[in-house]
């Protein structure tokens, strides 16, 4: 019987009791599917560690992969409303409230709104102004997380 993902996460964190840990290790030696699953979990943990910053919400590793994913979702979503409001504020400053309402359709993502903002500023005020406004919008935000979110 294959171990659950949460058990594999706990195994990778060395949080299982020794007897259960030995059982999982034996199973992993024989099961390529579980080996691949463990590898995926390790990769996700490595990428999370690389992006870790002092202001980021702590990831609840005690709750296994679900906790990891929940933590990941939290820090990915955290800057989006702030990003959206900052992008909207810049459109209001340079163009006006009407333009901000026109650009901010209900289903637009924060990064799309940011891209639209920069396109507007770049078109009307030039590239240098657009880059400066980008800095203003992203100041203090978690750029690494935003870049990972925005760039494919």
């Amino acid at each position: 019987m294959h171990p659950r993902t949460a058990t594999l996460v706990s195994f990778s964190d060395a949080e299982l009791n020794p007897a259960r840990g030995r059982r999982i290790a034996r199973h992993l030696q024989q099961c390529p599917n579980c080996q691949a699953a463990l590898e995926r979990i390790s990769q996700e943990k490595r990428s999370l560690s690389a992006l870790a910053g002092p202001d980021r919400p702590a990831i609840d590793t005690q709750r296994g992969l679900a906790g990891v994913l929940a933590g990941m979702a939290r820090w990915r979503e955290a800057p989006a409303p702030e990003l959206r409001s900052r992008a909207r504020a810049q459109i209001e400053i340079y163009l006006g409230c009407g333009a901000a309402s026109l650009m901010e359709s209900p289903d637009i993502r924060a990064d799309e709104l940011l891209a639209k903002t920069l396109e507007l500023i770049s078109t009307f005020l030039g590239q240098e102004a657009a880059e400066a406004v980008t800095g203003e919008i992203l100041r203090g935000l978690d750029c690494a997380a935003l870049t990972a979110e925005v760039l494919p």
Partner: protein
């Protein structure tokens, strides 16, 4: 988000232009008051030969300079660069035409050719040539506004205003063409046609800017619309009174219409320059600055 505004002279340029225009109009009102009470003592004369006053030429020069500054903000190939280039050329040609008209009144101008020829060249440059370049520049800007989604279809009032403008132009055109066609009347006819085109553009610019809001970019394009409406009003007033020969009326209109109109035109690039300075003056030291190319483009204005 804290805002630390850059208070350089360029960021407050729009306020300076408004202050200078206000002072100029107050001075004009004072001069009119003095003239009304002592009209027998001295007479008011228009600029010679229909030429523009030096104050108007000076403000047109300021407009050209602000346009150059606005132009510098755009890289080669930027969609709005072409619009600013055409608008800058229109302001520069306005200055050149105004100076030629002034030069025609100087005794030494005879060395350059007939004073009448110089004056007519000046009128051609500061009239139809300037208007054609401005119309071309605003057309480019309108196309960009349309592509970015700021285009507004006029309502019934808008179409009514457009209809009145076209009707006025046709009436004026017919009235002028019925008389003897001279070089001056030909210039006037072309000018009235171009003013009609500009007025229609101004209508669409006004609606698009109104849709944007009250930011400096919206103010910039709204200023062009207002400037054109003021010129249209001045032209209509002159034509309606039918008195290009009454010096005091021409002088008064030049004082109260042409100078404010050119000042409003100067206000437009000044708003853009102020906005650029404001943007680049803030956030330039941000540690989280990313290039614009890092973000996906949602649409192209090209």
């Amino acid at each position: 988000m804290t805002r630390t505004e850059d208070r350089t002279p360029l960021t407050s340029a729009p306020r300076w232009i408004i202050a200078v225009t206000g002072a100029y109009l107050c001075l004009g009102a004072f001069a009119l008051y003095v003239w009304a009470h002592a009209s027998s003592g001295f007479s008011v004369r228009a600029a010679p030969g229909g030429g523009e006053a030096l104050s108007v030429i000076g403000m047109a020069a300021a407009q050209a300079w602000f346009c150059v500054l606005a132009l510098r903000a755009f890289e080669a190939g930027a969609p709005l660069r072409r619009a600013w280039l055409l608008i800058m050329l229109s302001a520069a040609i306005h200055v050149a035409g105004g100076l030629l008209s002034q030069a025609a009144s100087l005794p030494s101008s005879l060395a350059l050719g007939s004073a009448d020829q110089i004056r007519r060249t000046g009128l051609l440059l500061s009239g139809p040539a300037q208007m054609a370049l401005l119309a071309a520049g605003l057309l480019v800007a309108l196309r960009i506004l349309w592509k970015l989604g700021f285009w507004v279809r006029p309502n019934a009032t808008g179409w009514a205003v457009a209809g009145v403008l076209v009707l006025f132009t046709l009436t004026r055109f017919a009235a002028t063409a019925a008389g003897q066609l001279t070089a001056d009347t030909a210039i006037s006819l072309v000018r009235s046609l171009l003013l009609c085109v500009l007025s229609l553009e101004a209508l669409f610019l006004w609606l698009s800017a109104a849709r944007m809001g009250k930011g400096p970019i919206a103010k910039c394009w709204r200023a062009f619309a207002i400037g054109i409406f003021v010129i249209g009003f001045g032209e209509a007033a002159l034509w309606a009174t039918g008195s290009y020969v009454q010096g005091w009326l021409v002088a008064a209109l030049e004082w109260y219409v042409w100078f404010p109109a050119v000042a409003i035109f100067a206000l437009a690039p000044a708003h853009t320059v102020a906005a650029v300075r404001r943007a680049t003056g803030r956030a330039s030291t941000s540690p989280s600055r990313l290039p614009v190319s890092a973000f996906p483009r949602t649409a192209s204005a090209n």
